[in-house]
């Protein structure tokens, strides 16, 4: 998953939202495009696209996103439709639900994780050894 940094890369999709390090947001931060947080957010964070939480960022909010990379501090329920990556500087306190989860060594996670199990038909059969 790639978090885009330039709006040109969207090519017609919704614009990117960037919350700078000195910015404090209170309320429901919702966007139809990618969200990049480097500051402080309380309330809710919602996007159907990608969310990037920078190393200095602090989020005390419920998070709902398509994909997410967390390198900062997040306290709250986290619902991710596809991929969630918690990087080594990331600290997560709250329950997670996602399709795929990666946690880098050094990251901190306190809470439970719910992942949808692949259905029987989705798994590839193991080839029998001759």
């Amino acid at each position: 998953m790639g978090i885009m940094t330039k709006r040109e890369e969207y090519d017609g999709s919704a614009p990117e939202t960037v919350v700078g390090a000195s910015v404090k947001i209170e309320g429901d931060l919702a966007s139809e495009g990618d969200i990049r947080v480097e500051g402080f957010v309380t309330g809710k964070v919602k996007t159907t696209k990608n969310l990037y939480v920078g190393p200095q960022a602090r989020i005390e909010a419920d998070v709902d996103a398509g994909n997410a990379v967390i390198a900062g501090n997040v306290k709250g329920e986290i619902k991710i439709k596809d991929n969630l990556l918690i990087q080594e500087t990331g600290k997560v306190a709250g329950n997670i639900s996602c399709a795929r989860l990666s946690i880098t060594e050094g990251a901190r996670f306190m809470g439970s994780c719910t992942m949808a199990m692949p259905e029987a038909g989705d798994t590839e059969p193991i080839p029998e050894e001759e």
Partner: protein, 287 residues
């Protein structure tokens, strides 16, 4: 019917206008877009002429003048709820709106653009019943495009004098934003030349909010060239948000200006206006 508002402006522009007037009229006839022409005077203001065009049921008004002439014409049309297409021939070679709309400062090229009649409905920003095409700057810190000078020293000296200020906004009544900033802009459309991020699409029904974080003296020195471009997003760490409605909550009496002119003070509400303006744009437009 084409209704031309000729606003030669002052001094330098008048001389330029008188030089090109004959050629311009010939070009208009050549492209079959000639019409009634009226020249702005101290008595016949831009607003009066725009009203006259509405009264004459003109289908297209062509503004020949500066960005300010275009803004004044559009304000009159929107307030009168007139369904008139607007074209623009800039007499200012550095016209920001001309660059945004892809209208060349060359008279021949701009007449060709008008004759091409590529009409696009554009969003307008609204602040206290004043409509704007470009952007609102919050606070006293303005960021025009500057000639950076040798090693960027000229622009650096200017930026060193600026002081950071606190800003409090509410976006779409959904969330509140507070920050100490060095600059703040609410953009409907802008000239994106030299900017890192393409912002200010006047067809997306959104305003772009751009906040430049407080900068230390060493950061001002480091980013002097980026600041001189006038694009706050060129400085790393800037905040970019999008909304249909922005309430500037405070601090009280924070000046809000358009094109360097203060229109109101905080608290104030800036929205995407319900009305759009139909504008003839060029192929080189920035959106």
């Amino acid at each position: 019917m084409y209704f031309y508002i000729f606003d030669p402006g002052k001094d330098k522009e008048v001389k330029y206008f008188e030089r090109i007037q004959g050629r311009l009229l010939n070009l208009l006839a050549e492209h079959h877009i000639e019409g009634e022409t009226y020249r702005v005077t101290s008595i016949r203001t831009v607003e009066l002429l725009a009203q006259q065009a509405i009264g004459l049921e003109a289908r297209t008004i062509i503004v020949v003048g500066s960005d300010s002439t275009l803004n004044r014409t559009i304000n009159t049309l929107v307030r009168s709820k007139a369904d008139i297409t607007v074209g623009f021939i800039s007499l200012d070679p550095d016209s920001r709106l001309g660059q945004i709309f892809g209208i060349s400062p060359d008279i021949g090229e701009s007449v060709k653009t008008l004759a091409g009649r590529l009409v696009t409905p554009l969003d307008l920003g609204e602040i206290n019943e004043h409509y704007f095409l470009s952007k609102v700057e919050l606070g006293e810190n303005q960021f025009p495009q500057l000639e950076p000078g040798l090693f960027g020293l000229a622009s650096m000296r200017k930026f060193m004098k600026l002081a950071p200020f606190e800003v409090n906004l509410s976006l779409d009544d959904l969330y509140k934003v507070s920050s100490e900033v060095f600059g703040a802009q609410i953009i409907n459309c802008r000239n994106n030349q030299g900017c890192r991020v393409k912002l200010g699409d006047p067809t997306d029904k959104l305003l772009d909010i751009l906040l430049l974080n407080k900068l230390s003296a060493s950061q001002i020195i480091r980013y002097r060239r980026e600041l001189a471009t006038g694009c706050l997003d060129n400085v790393p760490g800037s905040t970019i948000m999008h909304a249909k409605k922005v309430d500037v909550l405070g601090p009280r009496k924070l000046p809000l200006s358009i094109e360097g002119q203060v229109y109101t003070k905080a608290p104030a509400t800036i929205t995407v206006a319900k009305q759009q303006i139909k504008m003839i744009v060029g192929k080189g437009r920035q959106f």
